[in-house]
Amino acid sequence: MGRLRVLAWQTLSVAAIVLAWEVAVRWRVVDPLFVPAPSSIVRVLGVTGAEALPRLGDTLVKTLLGYALAILAGVPTGLVLGSRPTAHAIAMPYVVALYGVPKILVLPWIALVFGIGLSTAVLSAAVFAIFPVVVLVAAGTRDVDPALVTVAASMGASRGQIIRKVLLPAVLPSVLTAMRVALVFALLGTLIAEMLAGTRGMGFQMQRAALAFRAPELFAATAIVSVVSISVVLFLEHLNTRLGRWR
């Protein structure tokens, strides 16, 4: 089956699901109080779409700030842990353990200390995003072929030259993967912080709509956030394949 046929089937399936959903609501198989029809979600999107934009911007700014923090702290940490076997053996179990602990547990405390504003959401995004970055970059650094370093050193390269000319290019793919993965984690952290202890942003908006039983508004907000994150992920994947081909 060709790519176009696959794409056609995918489009058709999604359309069929949306149609079945619409029919189910129209025939009262599901209660529109809980699950609104796609048509009413679209109507709400048309009415409140303009209001949602600044909220979405708010969420994205927090996400990017937390993301930048996670990358700036996580990449060097990963490089250090990956390039020093002893440090890796000592500290990595703790990093992996912290990665495994549900981060939402510490969010109430972050909110208590930093209030319900920007910094809590930014920190939350950073906390969610930093562990995958450290783990991925450290793993990528460890996998660099030691022969490359030996050869460069035996040909008289200085430590700085080895880092710049050998290690960085070899580590770059795993850093890029980490940067791709971390963005979704940062968005997740921001949204959870907004839901738990926020006064602005899409997460807060969704939580409030859910508690107030405003289903169409909630589903519209959910649709906006999912479409944005799906587009970001697809764009980054596209960028990645382009970059891979270039290299």
């Binding site: 089956m1 696959v6 089937w9 995918q10 399936s13 999604v14 809980f34 699950v35 002893t86 053996a89 000592i90 500290a91 179990p93 703790y94 353990a97 495994g100 602990v101 549900p102 939402i104 547990l105 510490v106 969010l107 109430p108 405390w109 208590l112 200390v113 979704v184 984690f185 968005l187 997740l188 949204l191 959870i192 839901m195 738990l196 997460g203 969704m206 939580q207 709509a209 859910a210 508690l211 039983f213 289903a215 909630l218 589903f219 959910t222 956030v225 999912s226 994150s229 799906i230 992920v233 697809l234």
Partner: protein, 248 residues
């Protein structure tokens, strides 16, 4: 052996630093490790907090139901899509795309549909655990060498024998990895659900302690839950290692 001593040392340094920093700052907000045991004892004894045992059981029950559903649904959909090549090519990218959305986006809708009770937590735990299981089954099926299946079939093996003797060993390690990730995510799903809005369960107790500014009790509960999660994941890791050895 030396490594273990170093690890222990790092832990001690971290705890000492934490203690030193916390003791210099506002004790209402910053809780040092030395105050945790006392706080834990108070959590178990005090009448200001809801009795813990019932909430622990509720949360564990929610996790168990969510995970069982996630495994059942994930295996079913995974094999359904994986064994029919064309169907898989159409729907696997759609599933992978949905998996890429920050999961918490779905929780408010689930809370609206299923209410503040256990159902919404189970639904969210199921939802989070379902994807890694499904995707791992799909990836596992792709790892089965087609030639081996052809050879086994041509030598007269029945479908069940082919599945047990050829497919299962080839896909076991990937699948078990997915089952372990699924468990971790089911746990996260239930806990997130309880923290974002619940009337019972461990997450509710944590929120309750935090809401009353009982920071020490809150911290003790968080450390307790985190330790339980790590123990559970450690058990998962042991099982995973076992299965990988069996599969070779």
């Amino acid at each position: 052996m030396r490594i273990w001593l170093w690890r222990l040392g790092l832990l001690l340094i971290a705890l000492t630093l934490w203690e030193a920093v916390a003791s210099m700052l506002n004790p209402i907000l910053y809780v040092g490790p030395s105050r945790l045991p006392g706080a834990l004892a108070r959590v178990l004894a005090t009448r200001d907090l809801p009795p813990l045992a019932g909430h622990v059981w509720l949360t564990m029950g929610e996790i168990a139901v969510a995970y069982v559903l996630a495994v059942a649904g994930g295996l079913w959909v995974g094999f359904l899509l994986g064994l029919r090549h064309t169907v898989g090519r159409i729907y696997e990218p759609l599933l992978a795309t949905l998996y890429a959305v920050p999961s918490v986006v779905w929780y408010p809708s689930l809370m609206l549909c299923f209410g503040l009770g256990p159902a919404s937590k189970i639904a969210f735990g199921f939802f989070l655990g379902f994807f890694p299981v499904t995707l791992a089954v799909l990836a596992g099926i792709r790892q089965v060498p087609a030639t081996l299946v052809t050879v086994a079939v041509s030598m007269g093996a029945k479908p069940w024998t082919v599945f047990r003797k050829v497919m299962l060993p080839a896909m076991a390690s990937t699948m078990v990895g997915g089952l372990r990730t699924g468990l971790a995510l089911s746990v996260v799903g239930v806990l997130v659900g309880e923290l974002l809005g619940a009337r019972a369960g461990l997450g509710y107790v944590i929120n309750y302690a935090y809401g009353l500014m009982m920071t020490a009790e809150y911290a003790a509960l968080v450390v307790l839950v985190a330790a339980a999660v790590l123990l559970l994941d450690g058990a998962g890791a042991l099982i995973e290692a076992r299965v990988k050895r069996w599969a070779g």
